[in-house]
Amino acid sequence: MTDMLTVIRPDGATKKGYDAGLSDDGLLHCYRTMLLVRSFDEICLKLQRAGRIGFSIPNRGIEATQVGAASAMRKTDWIFPSYRDFGMALYHGISPVDMMHNMFGNAEDSAKGRQMPVHFSFTEPIHFYSISSPIGTHLPHAVGAAYASKLRGEDTVHLVSFGDGGTSSLGFHSGMNFAAVWKAPVVFLCQNNGYAISCPSDEQTASDGYAVKAEAYGMPHATVDGNDLFAVRQAVSEATERARKGEGPTLIEAVTFRMGGHSTSDDPSRYVPKELFDEWEKKDPVERFRRFLEKKGLWNQTVEDTMRKETLAEIDSAAKIAEKTDKPGLETIFSDVFAEVPGHIRRQGEFLFDLVKRRGEASAGGGEFPL
């Protein structure tokens, strides 16, 4: 395995004098965000098991990668996330309620209940780009958006995040290639969490890790310990700096592990050897960062208890609000296909509004086109 950047030692220590460039508040914000992610996981699992939401994506094990990367981005930068990037959204202040609206696919969901859960889309307080299910399609989008920023002379950087499996997709090949040729301000973050659903890394690629794939495109790359928040933060910071200076894109591989199933529909015991879970359990990224905070005097059990309670309560109340929110109106089936609703779609909508009225189903919203 290639050399891997590590900053926080297992016991929580860093090299003397290491400065991550974050205030105490900033450090605690990182920790709190990771706990928020854990709470999100926990509550969504319960909701899913109770049949109240259809599906969720667990994040245990990869929280430091998400939060470390997010912490290196400015609010004016863009994030092109994968469906597993809850932590990036939460770090930048996207509200749990707004995220829960998506999990329930209700009327307040910014995607208007059209997508499956975990397919978020936000433009505020940061561009957190609309998540697509097809793997890898968003890589060239980040490159195109970056080209636009560059052409206008802005210093915006575009971070695009994807999994180990994502490196086999078409979008990886074309996105990496175009970005390198155009010297586009993009940071490619490959979250190598060991599996693509059930496919282990050695059946995904014959290369030694994923960072080396950048060689094919003449692009600089780095491999970092993905369970080390500072290592990820540092690599992403260096990459954004280069990008802002006009020096082009970077590929970063964060080596981490998915401590659970691919989604709430998956049973990893069919394919992940138990020893792997045991081995990685010891490397828990939240625990590692906790030890760092403790050494720095920012953590004690009271802090922990309060934060855990608060974050769980925050997510829980978000879920309650979202669950009580109405389903989307019928018209949401027909709007946003085009900027204006064309005749044939309008007629189909009117057909449905009428049908629902005739059946006496009121539940599905007004059934009128917004003008």
Partner: protein, 325 residues
């Protein structure tokens, strides 16, 4: 005979085929140890070894592209695309290569292979786990398109598809995977491609459907009989390409009133071809407009999918409309 679900029939079909012919192999994303996300390939790696049933990297282009190479060199690949929505990265390989290889090489190279893929709505899958793309493929000369609606047909059509000398896209209605059960013969048998299945006889209205819409139409037809004494002739198309066009026209002429039902969007959907065949070949028999009951011309929604998908009530409305015309 055993009573099984549609997904069990698919699994049984794969095992039966692989036992009978060493050149058959299955691969795709998560089809190995996990057995596929719907368990269609459960037990295959154990029984046949990982050279004949295995996971691939996450590339549909690679899956179909390599399947073509295997097929032309003596193997019979049965490739799985995890959801039909994810077939589009392989669209070029399917449309430009698999479908055209025999033609462009004057028959020197061929790609006898099966692409299995679950399609359609009803599982709250939203935009990307619900689509019905049959029209794209039926419009592509050189591809066969098969869609079963019962466990019996699922196994029989799958075995026929695997034996077929041409590339076959085998679309499985995932909404029916566990929703229908039926008798399935043991061992080898085939259901001929390009044959229609008469689901229900009737003299008043002809309804064409396939896949997950078949039980919906059956329900509507039963209601039409019960509530209005309308006798519906229900036809399960099962092979969309090459279609038994004569059979379709025959069925239309029998009643002079036609409804076509599918989940996919209406515009340029498969139903348009059925309407067009009728308008071109037996319009003079028609006593009413040819009605389509379809998904809307929008992407597939999530929360409101039950409003998007045709249901028995919408089909019944259409039956009444053409009957009362």
């Amino acid at each position: 005979m055993a009573n099984m679900t549609l997904i069990q029939a698919v699994n049984d079909g794969l095992k039966t085929a692989m036992r009978g012919d060493e050149s058959i192999l299955c691969f795709g994303e998560d089809v190995g140890p996990k057995g596929g996300v719907f368990l269609a390939t459960e037990g295959l790696t154990t029984e046949f070894g990982k050279e004949r049933c295995f996971d691939t990297p996450l590339s549909e282009d690679g899956i179909i592209g390599t399947a073509i190479g295997m097929a032309m060199n003596g193997l019979r690949p049965v490739a799985e695309i995890q959801f039909q929505d994810f077939i589009f990265p392989a669209f070029d390989q399917i449309v430009s290569e698999a479908a055209k290889l025999r033609y462009r090489s004057g028959g020197q190279y061929t790609a006898p292979m099966v692409i299995r893929t679950p399609y359609g709505g009803g599982i709250r899958g939203g935009l990307y786990h619900s689509q019905s793309g049959e029209a794209y493929f039926a419009h592509t000369a050189g591809l066969k398109v098969v869609i079963p609606s019962t466990p019996h047909d699922a196994k029989g059509l799958l075995l026929a598809s695997i034996q077929d000398p041409d590339p076959v896209l085998f679309m499985e209605p995932k909404a029916l995977y566990r929703a229908v059960k039926g008798e399935v013969p043991e061992g080898e048998y085939t259901v001929d491609l390009s044959t229609l299945r008469t689901v229900r006889e009737g003299r008043d209205v002809t309804i064409y459907c396939y896949g997950a819409m078949v039980p919906v139409v059956e329900k509507a037809a039963a209601q039409a009989k019960e509530q209005r004494d309308i006798d519906c002739l229900v036809v399960d198309l099962r092979t969309l390409m090459p279609l038994d066009e004569e059979g379709v026209l025959e069925a239309a002429k029998q009643t002079g009133r036609v409804v076509v039902v599918h989940e996919a969007p209406r515009f340029c959907g498969y139903g348009a071809e059925i309407s067009a065949l009728i308008a071109e070949n037996c319009i003079e028999y028609m006593e009413a407009p040819v009605k389509r009951v379809t998904g809307f011309d929008t992407p597939f929604p999530n929360t409101l999918e039950h409003h998007y998908l045709p249901d028995d009530r919408r089909v019944l409305d259409a039956i009444e409309a053409v009957y009362d015309f």
